[in-house]
């Protein structure tokens, strides 16, 4: 559902949480889907990777030799087998949102839950200087939209 200020999606995978975390982070380049919306610069992107640990970069690599690339964001929490928390830069505006990935054990493996949040705290690209309060994350906005859409039949 993408209703309030966050977008969430999840998947159940038949490996244990530790393995799931490892695959998610160490092998992102092997599973990450290439597509026009996947990259900051689709023409230059050659790989994607996490630099392990808090403060590490989530980087779209443009040149393997020089290490040149684009930072999607920084790693804010790195808890193997449990949780990953990342900044995520929204393209074409410099807006920072947040992605949290949680790994929870299930009977058959792991439930991987991804939440991309912070949409209602976006500093609007064209906003005047006086709108800084929005950056502080006032509890507003997108929740309304969902309610509004539900109330009025299309």
């Amino acid at each position: 559902m993408s209703s309030t200020d966050s977008v969430t999606t999840s998947v159940e995978v038949a490996v244990d949480p530790t393995t799931a975390f490892e695959v998610f982070t160490e092998e992102i380049d092997a599973w990450y889907q290439r597509g026009p919306h996947s990259w900051k610069n689709p023409e230059r992107a050659v790989a994607i990777r996490f630099e392990p640990g808090v403060g590490g970069r989530w980087i779209e690599v443009w040149d393997e030799e020089t290490g040149e690339g684009y930072d999607f964001g920084r790693i804010k929490a790195w808890e193997p087998g449990k949780r990953l928390l990342l900044d995520y830069l929204i393209h074409d505006g410099g807006h920072v949102t947040e992605v949290e990935v949680r790994f929870e054990p299930t009977e058959g493996g792991t439930r991987v839950m991804l939440e991309h949040r912070g949409w209602d705290a976006l500093p609007p690209a064209v906003a005047a200087a006086g709108v800084a309060n929005v950056q502080k994350g006032e509890p507003v906005l997108l929740g309304w939209f969902a309610e509004y859409l539900e109330k009025e039949p299309r």
Binding site: M1, S2, V13, D16, W31, Y32, Q33
Partner: protein, 113 residues
């Protein structure tokens, strides 16, 4: 994307958010909105102009007399914003699906997790 920016920009102001919130319950006159939001008529008039310019709000009723004009929400900008988030959701859904396929393929190669 530009439309979404404009929508977010208009809603960055607390008074304008309040106006949108008030209009959710039904159309209102500018005077009622000013009273509910505890703001002056000229200030409300400016806010309504911004909201109208972005297409968030439209005026209906008696055009000639501003006092009799009623304001109501338009749904298009809200749908655009929701559509953007729906795209984000679809993007991550696809990525997680690819992650699952890869993790399970790899696990089978290694003879099980």
């Amino acid at each position: 994307m530009k439309d979404v920016d404009a929508t977010l920009s208009a809603l960055a102001d607390p008074t304008r958010r309040q106006v949108v919130d008030l209009l959710r319950t039904g159309p209102r006159r500018a005077g009622e909105l000013a009273a509910s939001a505890e703001t002056s008529a000229p200030a409300m008039s400016r806010h309504l102009r911004v909201l109208r310019a972005t297409g968030l709000v439209e005026a209906a009723g008696v055009d000639d007399d501003a006092r009799l004009r009623v304001y109501r929400l338009r749904r298009e900008p809200f749908v655009a914003l929701q559509a953007w988030l729906d795209q984000v959701e679809a993007f991550w859904g696809e990525q997680l699906g690819a992650f699952k396929a890869h993790a399970e393929r790899r696990s089978r190669r290694k003879g099980g997790a």
